[in-house]
Symmetry: C2
Subunit: 201 residues, 2 copies
């Protein structure tokens, strides 16, 4: 039921500490210790909030040594209420508050997602048109964790959650450099991904 999803999304944003975390992450990735220190809470509290934000797909995580760096999942933040968006980004990007009419491609992106995905997030069909296909691929790949390694089995299961033809979509990911494969292990290619993302704007 979608009700829970919407409620949980708003619950994730219905706490001042979590909003502050997002505001801090808008300036760049941070690990748990630093977040705890900046916010005057214990690391355990950060773990707690990170779990809620992760469930709502609002943040991503990247592990380096035994430190976990949190960062915003821009994709989901961008598609949220503009009031929230303004508050989160205003410190790092003041023009955001100024006159900024959603451009044509932002609209295209929204309409493609509305058209090609069902209410519960399944992909109805793979767009033939390149630009639309890239939008769809970006949408799906943004749900994966940055920096994490996935086995082929994991990737297949993940993609199958969107569309039965996981082999084609996995191939598209590689072809368009959204991810790369290193002897059986798949990983996101964040630079390429956001580069294509910017291309679309």
């Amino acid at each position: 039921m979608q009700l829970d999803k919407v409620v949980n999304y708003h619950k994730a944003l219905a706490d001042p500490t979590r909003i502050k975390i997002l505001i801090l992450l808008a300036e760049g990735e941070l690990n748990g210790q630093v977040l705890a220190e900046k916010l005057g809470v214990t690391p355990a509290t950060i773990t707690h909030h990170a779990a809620k934000l992760r469930e709502a797909s609002l943040i991503k995580e990247r592990r380096d040594k035994n430190t976990i760096y949190f960062s915003l999942n821009h994709y989901f933040i961008k598609n949220s209420a503009s009031a929230t968006e303004n508050l989160i980004y205003q410190r790092v990007n003041p023009e955001h508050t100024a006159e900024r009419i959603p451009d044509a491609d932002q609209q295209l992106r929204e309409s493609v997602i509305k058209n090609f995905f069902t209410q519960d997030g399944k992909l109805k069909s793979i767009p033939a048109q390149l630009k639309k296909k890239l939008i769809v691929l970006t949408h799906i790949v943004s749900m994966l964790e940055n920096g994490r390694k996935y086995s082929e089995k994991e990737i297949n299961e993940f993609i199958a959650g969107f569309h039965e033809d996981f082999a084609t979509i996995r191939r598209e990911f590689i072809m368009h450099h959204f991810m790369y494969r290193d002897n059986g292990v798949y990983e996101l290619n964040p630079q390429e991904m956001w580069a294509r993302w910017e291309d679309l704007k």
Copy 2:
């Protein structure tokens, strides 16, 4: 501080019963008893939730005899996250989910509000251009309760919360038929208000 505002907005939507209330109201206005019956809760519970939704400006109220009819404050709902919007409106308007690119005037409306209002909701200046002025007036007047009578003192204080020149704005409200005055008592003119609203689309 705007943090509280954003948090409270999300708190208002972070409860399944309140989302259900909004979904029901999307089909038309309802009074407390009927809402309680449809949702299987007591009228006291509806009163409780209505207060929260009212604080977040998500609903309006209209009194007829001793019955209070609740309705959506479309203005605030529209400017919320599209996921929420879809869930709320989908039952009454299925095309909403389909390809629907925000039209030019929706964009104008958003940009005028971003330009002419400060972060904490004050009006920076009164637009000279008619269309923009109507957008600003609509925005302010949508915060008033439908059907409620206001004294001139109340109206002045309300408008002063947005801009010091309350006299000019009050006059504009009357001129453009957003409200009417009946021997010292001011009241919204809902039909006219939404008629102009539709004109803007």
